[in-house]
Subunit: 212 residues, 2 copies
DNA sequence: GTCTATACTACGATAGAC
DNA sequence: GTCTATCGTAGTATAGAC
């Protein structure tokens, strides 16, 4: 479909060059259509930009709801189940970060974080923020403490390690390439993230019980 | 100086919009000069782009050598000294990530990692790679094991947490803003990174001694 | 709903004045 | 070493054919 093609290419082009840098002619040309169809469907360049952001937010939100099963009541009651779910979510995110779609999305999302515009609000409110909030809830259940700044810092650092597979991809490829394959490196990475997440959860549990 | 102004603005503009998206007219205008002075000093748009990359690499390299004192022989012999140095480097990197210069550099560097060009090689070879290599050496001394893929994975994850202060800045600001200030969040972040780094180093030490 | 045609602005490169 | 002038190309927006 024309509009799907336009949005996909818009995400890539706006991600690479930003709202100013990207060109509607280039996007329309890559989608095999005339520039004026962007005007017709989205009202202009800016409309297409926001539509691209909304598309990312919707896709992320949809994937989260179906694949992560966010409303799972078991994981929100039992500490061991919550911990297992945290590992499950992080591993799933790692696979997403290594996939094709995150490559197209990441520049768009990172740019919106570093040069804040209207688009990141939509993506955060509809998708990222809900995922992070759910991870905070899970960490609370897993450690038996209530949400506060320390929990949020821990969640930020957990996800930071995962998102780095994209944002620091050049560094990763060079570190992985010194010997062995990228696959063996990422497998090792999954293992290390699991271990360090467990260590963090254990530490949070112990810290709070000692001070209680 | 004119060339300094041009390079500074070029890093920002190329970072935001990429080689194609940025305009030499815009850069020259912001530097209060004519577009043709870019041709004169750098031979054209691409020359300015590579000069901007080299500037980042040189500045990073200079800061590393003077502030991190990379060739410190004590830290490369004693386990406790190596561990202290790792914490020192990570804390220093955190401060850098919160500073102004990293804001201008980060989009440039992240773009080059996600859409590899000739520029990232220069930055990695001259600065980032050497820093990471040194961290690998320090982790080896601190844990008493020799460098391998697992060590490199661990170093990648340590630095990933630090670099996320820039690349995931939008997420950080929102998580920090739920209560308290950004300062209290980043202080908490430094503390958590120190603890989790210690946990990782302890685990690496124990793992290897058990299998030996 | 998609196209062509047009108007106007901005782009990079280059030549040449000073 | 920095400027203006100019060329050919490519940018967005818009009006209107079909």
């Amino acid at each position: 479909m024309l509009q799907d093609r336009l949005i996909d290419i818009a995400i890539r082009e706006f991600g690479e060059k930003g709202l100013d840098g990207a060109s509607t002619r280039g996007i329309a040309g890559a989608a095999d259509t005339a520039m004026s169809s962007i005007t017709y469907h989205y009202g202009g360049k800016e409309g297409l930009y926001l539509a691209a952001a909304d598309h990312i937010a919707e896709q992320m939100s949809r994937e989260m709801l179906s694949l992560l099963d966010l409303e799972d009541p078991v994981a929100l009651a039992d500490a061991a189940a919550a911990r297992a779910k945290i590992h499950y979510i992080l591993c799933l995110l790692i696979d997403r970060m290594l996939g094709e779609k995150s490559a197209a999305w990441s520049m768009f999302i990172i740019r919106e974080q570093l040069l804040p515009g209207a688009a990141f609000d939509r993506i955060y409110d509809k998708a990222m923020g809900r995922l992070l909030g759910h991870l905070v809830d899970l960490v609370c259940v897993a450690t038996g403490v209530s949400a506060d700044a320390q929990i949020r810092v821990a969640v930020f650092l957990m996800t930071a390690q995962v998102f780095a597979l994209r944002s620091a991809r050049g560094v990763m490829l060079r570190l992985a390439g010194e010997d062995g394959t990228v696959e063996s490196f990422t497998n090792s990475l999954k293992h290390e993230i699991t271990l360090s997440t467990n260590a963090t959860l254990d530490r949070l549990t112990t810290d709070r019980q000692e001070t209680a």
